[in-house]
Each structure stands twice: as structure tokens, then as C-alpha cells.
């Protein structure tokens, strides 16, 4: 169960096939994501993304055009990215009409390694709302603080 979940979505006035190309073709990715993208969009393919003078490897997980695309990144150098040492980014494309597509992204990670399973399950049950609920909880905590 991830320790950090961020969910966002956007409605795009274009068919899923067009959105799919935008999120998976390296020359397109370099316009919305990294400065430089070296990636073959195949399950298990290893690629590289450059952000300014920093960069890191990515590994493709799911490629199901034009509906699902996911990759892992932010894992320690020299390690294979698996659940527990990396962040998973999952895109889901859902047609909502002729030329309308809902694009949803979920970034999750920071596996809670040392939790007992019962506690993981309880956490999962309490966090179905994902990131928004999580932030609400923090906001509630912050709101309770004494002023000043």
C-alpha cells in the first residue's frame, strides 16, 4: 500500500488516440514532462529522463493503447525499480464522448515496508479518497494549531 498517493485528472477535447500519442511519444513527452526523454514505450523497457541538470532512469510497466500507460521512476541508482523503492505513475484514458477524453494520473509510492498487514489494510480502507483526503487531514491538523 502506498504511503503517498496523488490523483489528478483533466478533460481533453480530443480522441483518446491523440491523447495517447501526446503522453507516450518521446518528442511529445519532452514538451510536457522532462527536458529530454529517451524511452521506448514497451513493457519493461528502461529509459531516461532529464530535468535541467538532473536526470533519472524510468522503467515502463503497462502499455495498453489507448487506455493505460504506466512507468516507475525515482528509484535508487543501480537498483531495479519495484514496489517499495520507487514512485509509480499511472495514466488512464477514458473516452467521454466522440472527441472527449478524461485523462487521469495517479502517482503513488513510498511503500510502507515495515507495517503489519492488518494495519496496511486499515490504512487502505481509510484512504480510499486518496490524496485529497490526505491533504484534508493535514489541513485539519494545521488548522488546530494555536495562532502565531
Amino acid at each position: 500500500m502506498p504511503g503517498l498517493v496523488i490523483e489528478r485528472d483533466v478533460l481533453i477535447e480530443a480522441p483518446a488516440e491523440v491523447v495517447w500519442r501526446t503522453i507516450t511519444e518521446p518528442d511529445q513527452m519532452s514538451q510536457w514532462f522532462a527536458d529530454r526523454v529517451e524511452l521506448v514505450v514497451e513493457p519493461g523497457a528502461h529509459g531516461y529522463m532529464q530535468f535541467g541538470d538532473q536526470g533519472g532512469p524510468v522503467v515502463v510497466e503497462v502499455v495498453d493503447p489507448p487506455a493505460r500507460f504506466s512507468f516507475r521512476w525515482n528509484h535508487p541508482r543501480g537498483e531495479e525499480p519495484v514496489a517499495g523503492n520507487s514512485m509509480l505513475v499511472e495514466f488512464t484514458l477514458t473516452p467521454e464522448g466522440d472527441e472527449l477524453t478524461r485523462l487521469r494520473v495517479v502517482e503513488s509510492g513510498h511503500e510502507l515496508r515495515d507495517w503489519p498487514d492488518a494495519e496496511k489494510q486499515r490504512y487502505a480502507d481509510e484512504h480510499r479518497g486518496g490524496w485529497a483526503e490526505y491533504l484534508d487531514r493535514l489541513a485539519t491538523l494545521l488548522g488546530k494549531r494555536q495562532p502565531g
Binding site: I12, E13, V105, L112, H127, W131, Y134, K144
Partner: protein, 118 residues
């Protein structure tokens, strides 16, 4: 890029029992582990364990007063956690907005091409 420190921070906040402890600390200022144990539905040992994790993540600090150890929230760190999460979300909002712009422009371009062909 994330760090080991972030890892500890997220894990520390993610646990509902730990969040309960954190909640009590935020509301009540500086208190002892025994005081906390009297207000939660779990054991004194569990409270101590949670406090260790929270302290390791930098969310809680402690000081000795006489024979007692008192704990309090490190508000800077809590603010930092909230900001980090808001930043990550904002980053994805910006990326999704860019994807929307690119895809819609590509789609408009395709339609123009179709009309010329027909």
C-alpha cells in the same frame, strides 16, 4: 526527486494511529507519553513506538523535565510536509494542462488536414 527523509515523513504521517497521536500533540502542546496513552485506544508501548517514528521523521521533538519526557510537534516540519504534497499535486496539474494543450492542438491540426484531403 524524492529522498529517504521524505520516505520517513510520508510513512510517519500515513499511519492512522500515529496521526491520532500527532493530532493530540497538535491540539495540546507539550505532553508526556503517559498523558497520550490515557487518551488513545492503544497501549503505552504503542504510543512510545509511534513517538519514536514521529521523532525520526522530524515531526516531533522531546525534552526532559525532571523525571518526565515531554513531546511536542515540530510545526515547521508539518508545514513542510503539507507544502511538499501541495507542490507535487500542482506539478501534475501543470503537466496535465500542458498535455491538454498539446493534444487539443494536435487534434485541431488533424481535423484541418482531413478537410484539405477531402
Amino acid at each position: 526527486m524524492t529522498t529517504q527523509t521524505d520516505d520517513e515523513l510520508w510513512s510517519a504521517i500515513a499511519d492512522p494511529s500515529r496521526c491520532h497521536v500527532l493530532d493530540l500533540l497538535v491540539s495540546n502542546g507539550e505532553v508526556s507519553a503517559s498523558w497520550l496513552a490515557g487518551r488513545v485506544p492503544f497501549t503505552r508501548q504503542a504510543v512510545s513506538k509511534h513517538l519514536v517514528v514521529l521523532e525520526r521523521a522530524g515531526l516531533v521533538s522531546r525534552r526532559k523535565q525532571g523525571r518526565e519526557v515531554l513531546y511536542q510537534v515540530q510545526t515547521d516540519r508539518l508545514d513542510q510536509a503539507t507544502r511538499a504534497m501541495a507542490q507535487l499535486a500542482a506539478q501534475w496539474d501543470r503537466r496535465l494542462a500542458a498535455i491538454k494543450r498539446l493534444a487539443e492542438a494536435a487534434h485541431a491540426e488533424n481535423k484541418k488536414g482531413d478537410r484539405h484531403d477531402g
